[in-house]
Symmetry: none
Subunit: 211 residues, 4 copies
DNA sequence: CAGTAAACGAGACGGTACGTCACGTCTTCAG
DNA sequence: CTGAAGACGTGACGTACCGTCTCGTTTACTG
């Protein structure tokens, strides 16, 4: 006794989905999230508005999926280019030197966050997630958590190697260097440089108190 | 040949300002930021739309000022209630035990962030700030920075007492416990409890590596 | 290389046609002509939209045919019920008393026009015909003209009997009592009663000037 | 306890009203009533849609008022051009020869109904009135009735002069020549010529039966 | 203390976008 | 290989707000 007879996803037009993702990302980069409208996305994608409303319930959802799709395609492309198993592509290196490994990855993150093509949609998505419960959950689950898990895994490996105290909770420990970076980027409370993340790693590993 | 003949702020109606702040905060709590409209604020405040547009340029600005005003009134009320000089009201205590002092303040912050009356507008403001340059700057300057300065000051005092290494940059050091809290709250990446902030302070002060 | 590969009418589904006629007439009675949609007819008839578009080019056409079909079925049923040759069924009686015969038929027409089941679709059809050339022609040809011919025939018989002046054009003469009735019904310029049509017949036959 | 707080008509923009009337009539002449949209009228008039919805509730109402306005302006212009009191402008002449007077006026009506500029909107209005109760009432009251009253008055004068039987109801009598004309025009059941209306008048005044 | 200029409440205006509905066409899949 | 089902591009619907622009009406300063 469905009220609205859900659409039949097996008949969905792949062409339209692609075009909508592309249009959404392009518009957000060009004119910003708040000026991007569903009508504008539809027009740019050469698609009827109803085709968007049929499959998504809000602008935030479209953007989230577009962004996830972009991430997947990028990851696949990167993995392919490197001739690497995609499953390995996003690992944090483990050279045995924990500080060096973290600094390497966080420096790369700083560079990525400074890329204007990435920044506009990612920032918009984060803001939407802060205010829209539904987007928030999928955002954390699909985008944020997987990244954090990598850090947690690296910290656990370090614990086994004796480089991190055994009683440290990795899920909290990683926040000492990840969250400051996130906050500076999101709220603009400070500049993002390689030196800054190096300092963060040093402080986090060694603490602020004298040894 | 003035372009716009700026309004004469000496003639501004205090009554209207009050009513607009109240209406804005009420609406954001009741229906959320994105459903709050300038027209709605005006109607609720019993005010003409032009009176809003005369003094503010966007919904974000109205909210920001309403929120600052709320903070000031709360602070003044709290100080008065405590019979304390308002200038002292927001200090971080210095009992000589840095960890205890930080835990005390951060636990209070956790409680404050869990207050629904505070949460909706504050969160909305943070989200707006992430996306709107103008709001962002005033938000950081007026709301975020003053709070961070208090932590920085406390850390500097701790350095003089030898409880924090002399080579630590207090502005970065404070982020080790403040930013994780902020991120969990804004992005919902974990729960906010007193135990959590206690752990944060311990990790931050003592580091993750074995001593 | 046919342009449109016209549908093969020999393969047409009689079941669908019936269902579409029924659905169309039911919807027009229930919700009115302008709120009746092709999509709605298709859904109600349990038929694909294409099945409608294949055989009719507009809502007006569907209605027109549905109505013609209804009329035919009614006539056949009435004739059968009366045990009469259907060809005679729609004749205007000729008792020798022209005025009485006309009054009899026009009174029946008044009753018919007051039947709500008849009224909604018929009125919608008339309105559509006033604005849509294509519908108009078929409407006049199939529905209006046959009725008018009956009056013309009766007037011609009256001319032979000497009850109507020989120089009168029956096609114009009949309008004196038929058109006023039609206008009152269509435009609501006056009430429709048996007394009214009696008066019309009297005036038409005897004229307005003193004799 | 009004649900919608009716608009303040004293603040209404005369400019917009004019532009909307003009746009509506132009569009109906150019592309027909059913293809004319509120959006189209607004665009053509250089007006926001809401300005139309604020003052009218349907396309039919806009057209009706546009048409009434057109009629008033025409009448005023005609009266001025003729140097005549506008109150006299629409009288049916009374030369003492009833048949001649009626033929004169009906011939003029035929000419008017053949004017394409007049025809499209007038016909659309009549059709709308047949189907839309609200429009219908105002249509009859404002457009149809005043015209019919003129004929009724002329017939009453003829009764006093002894040219029409005293027992004839003028409101019904006039339908003998007015309604046939209306029906031919609206439903296209026959051609409209001067000869036709002459015949109508003759039949109506003298009846169809031999004298 | 009147005169007057600005701020005010109200809300109409030209617009943009919303989310929904139906159009007429095109594609898929079951009988 | 027909026909129901329904997704698609299109475009109008009627509504909500936008930011601007008059309207009178307070309100508070100035002469």
């Amino acid at each position: 006794m469905a009220t609205k007879t859900a659409p039949d996803s097996s008949r969905r037009s792949e062409r339209s989905r692609r075009a909508i993702y592309d249009a959404a990302l392009a518009l957000i980069s060009e004119i910003g999230y708040s000026k991007t409208t569903i009508e504008g996305i539809a027009a740019r994608a050469g698609v009827g508005k109803q085709t968007i409303y049929r499959w998504w319930s809000s602008k935030g959802e479209v953007l989230l999926e577009a962004f996830l799709d972009l991430g997947e395609r990028n990851a696949a492309a990167a993995a392919e280019a490197a001739g690497v198993d995609p499953a390995d592509a996003r690992h944090i290196p483990d050279t045995g030197d924990l500080a060096a490994d973290l600094k390497y990855v966080l420096r790369a993150t700083v560079d990525e966050l400074s890329d204007p093509a990435f920044e506009a949609p990612y920032r918009a998505l984060a803001a939407e997630g802060m205010v829209n419960r539904e987007v928030s959950e999928r955002y954390v689950e699909k985008l944020l958590e997987p990244g954090l898990q990598l850090y947690a895994a690296r910290l656990r490996a370090a614990q086994e190697a004796g480089d991190v105290r055994a009683d440290v909770d990795p899920r909290i420990g990683l926040e000492l260097f990840v969250s400051p970076l996130a906050q500076r980027w999101l709220q603009g409370t400070g500049e993002l440089t390689h030196a800054y993340v190096d300092t963060l790693v040093d402080y986090a590993l060694n603490g602020l108190s004298p040894r």
